[in-house]
Symmetry: C2
Subunit: 366 residues, 2 copies
């Protein structure tokens, strides 16, 4: 058995699908967040796209989804290939660290050599071939080393909405570097300096490690979480799993994996990657990522006519005709029961608008 | 019996409801023109509003509707009080002169003293009391004189979309003047001169006359139409009426009543009126006429939020939530299957857009 075959046999994917994604309102709602939507306009939800991407790497039985218990039915609907035991239901929202610990425990109980990828369910990957090559390279690395590996995205512009990773010396594997430090979301001047320096990457929240490695890191750097959850190891993948989680998970500290582990550990590595990535933070970033016509319009729908209209994102349900005239840089989203028309550059104000909607019309459509 | 009682007994109303009104697309469609829509946003169609306005003057049995045969079912739906015989179905669109001749023949056969009002079905009247007082005054005048009387609207601004009426000396009835001439839609400088002169009125297409008077005018000034239709007089209001009309009406000349009669006759009078009138030519004029909020927005719908939005007309079906941000002077009309967003000042381009829609998506929604 080659190292590569060994690696494949023990490879697992954990897709994080618990987020709310309220910035895609009115397409996203509290009851149906972003990862369950066809945000890219190609007929498939972001969760489904993520799942199918990893199906090229492992069989469906090796793919797990971590979500809020309230979204379990939606996950089953979008990924009918999954068995119930492959869906990890969080009874509370405690940020990513407890969620990663639970996942690692469950996979370690299943396979002590489990080597896993943790990936968000709601990001866009433009070049899947490069992405999967990068992931394979990372898995080979973590299969043979006690390493916490994170994919770093080579930045294309001084984005102020992402955390950055500063990387240092190369590891013994070409293309993989030791992480010097994690940096918070920077002001734009700082972001420009990071870009100029050439050794900063965007932190995309895609992690690769063995279950045993990350559990050891928890034991060292987030002992409280480890102590709260590790007594449940023996009931993982059994009828007792959900009961244990329901009883103990909500009491864990709400903290991100970056704060709890990545910024503390000394065995953190990164692979600078260039596969065309976007976290699709909101409508404007979606407009940036998707295909546009000669006028810069992204039209998601089957009967949309943009007349003297430029740089707009127009999205409408199947069968709805939209005629938009004289608009520049607008988001137009018709979701059947809600229509939003808003300047793209003022997208951050949609949150305030949500508060006004709540006040005037109640929460039914939020 | 007083003159007034005599007048009431022989008073009839003919509502013209054959128009297409394509300028209210996407609310209006070829299959459902403007007069059948709740354009004012008060729960009633323009046709219904017109009918109820005249119900204050005469019983329902004295109100007739002239429409295209294709809209007969719609008329019955909106005005269930009407008997079949009160709906005149034109088998072809031949402009207003043949339509007026047919109406006059039918009412003359019913009542040789018939004194009638011809009124469009799709205009807005702001002050109904003044309107009805004016109409009563006109009916009294035409009951006793061989006069062709037209209501003239005192102009409020130099509108270039209306024809004008120049009036001269006063008749023997106070407030009613002889018409000197009809003037075509003027350029704006001309319109300003008309306004300044003080003796020009807008031609609103509201006529008052006895059936016998207008039939005599047809005999004199549009003898061809008179000769084509008058042989049908004896079958009016009988089973043979529609057959006769179907056979002979389509062969009549397509010409307006203004060209065919009003500009020729020498017994034409007008009553300058001020009851707040609009022909609701298109969305922008609707926006001008209806109630607006402090930001100048006319919101027709139950869940519309206008955020930093001014001077817009926003119309949506019951139950649809609309959030519009950062828009000035736009028309936003959601009709369920079609959404139109267009600059109010460029409304005349909607026609071109219609051609593009036809080309790209077919005629289903036009």
């Amino acid at each position: 058995m080659t190292a590569n075959q060994h690696s494949q046999q023990h490879t697992y994917i954990a897709i994080m699908a618990g987020g709310v994604g309220s910035r895609f309102w009115p397409a996203s709602r509290e009851a149906k967040p972003k990862q369950f939507l066809d945000i890219a306009g190609n007929g498939k939800s972001l969760l489904r796209l993520t799942f199918e991407r990893f199906l090229r790497l492992v069989p469906a039985s090796h793919i797990f989804v971590v979500t809020n218990e309230g979204y379990r039915a939606l996950v089953k609907e979008h990924l009918p290939e999954l068995q119930d035991g492959q869906i990890l239901g969080e009874p509370s929202r405690n940020n990513t660290a407890p969620c990663v610990a639970y996942t690692a425990m469950k996979l370690y109980q299943l396979d002590a050599e489990a080597n896993l990828v943790i990936a968000p369910s709601d990001h866009l990957i433009q070049n899947e071939d490069i992405f999967l090559d990068n992931i394979r390279h990372c898995l080979d690395f973590t299969a043979s080393q006690e390493a916490l590996l994170t994919l770093g995205i080579s930045p294309t512009h001084p984005h102020t909405g992402y955390g950055y990773i500063e990387y240092g010396g190369q590891s013994d594997s070409p293309g993989i570097y030791a992480v010097k430090r994690f940096a918070e979301k920077p002001p734009v001047e700082q972001a420009r300096a990071y870009l100029a320096s050439g050794n900063y990457l965007w932190n995309a929240g895609i992690f690769i490690w063995r279950a045993s490695t990350i559990l050891e890191a928890f034991r060292r750097y987030a002992a409280d979480i480890y102590e709260q959850l590790s007594p449940g190891m023996s009931v993982m993948n059994s009828a007792g799993e959900q009961d244990f989680i329901n009883a103990h998970y909500p009491a864990t500290r709400s903290i991100s994996i970056d704060y709890a582990i990545m910024e503390q550990a000394d065995n953190v590595y990164t692979l600078p990657a260039q596969f065309g990535w976007s976290d699709l933070g909101a409508w404007a970033s979606l407009h940036e990522e998707v295909d546009k016509d000669a006028e810069g319009n992204a039209l998601q729908g089957d009967q949309i006519l943009a007349y003297d209209t430029h740089n707009c994102l127009i999205r409408a349900p199947k069968g709805k005709m939209v005629v938009a005239g004289g608009l520049d840089d607008f988001i137009i989203v018709d979701e059947g029961d809600v229509l939003l028309i808003f300047p793209k550059s003022r997208e951050q104000e949609i949150k305030q608008v949500g508060a006004l909607v709540r006040e005037r019309f109640g929460t039914d459509r939020l």
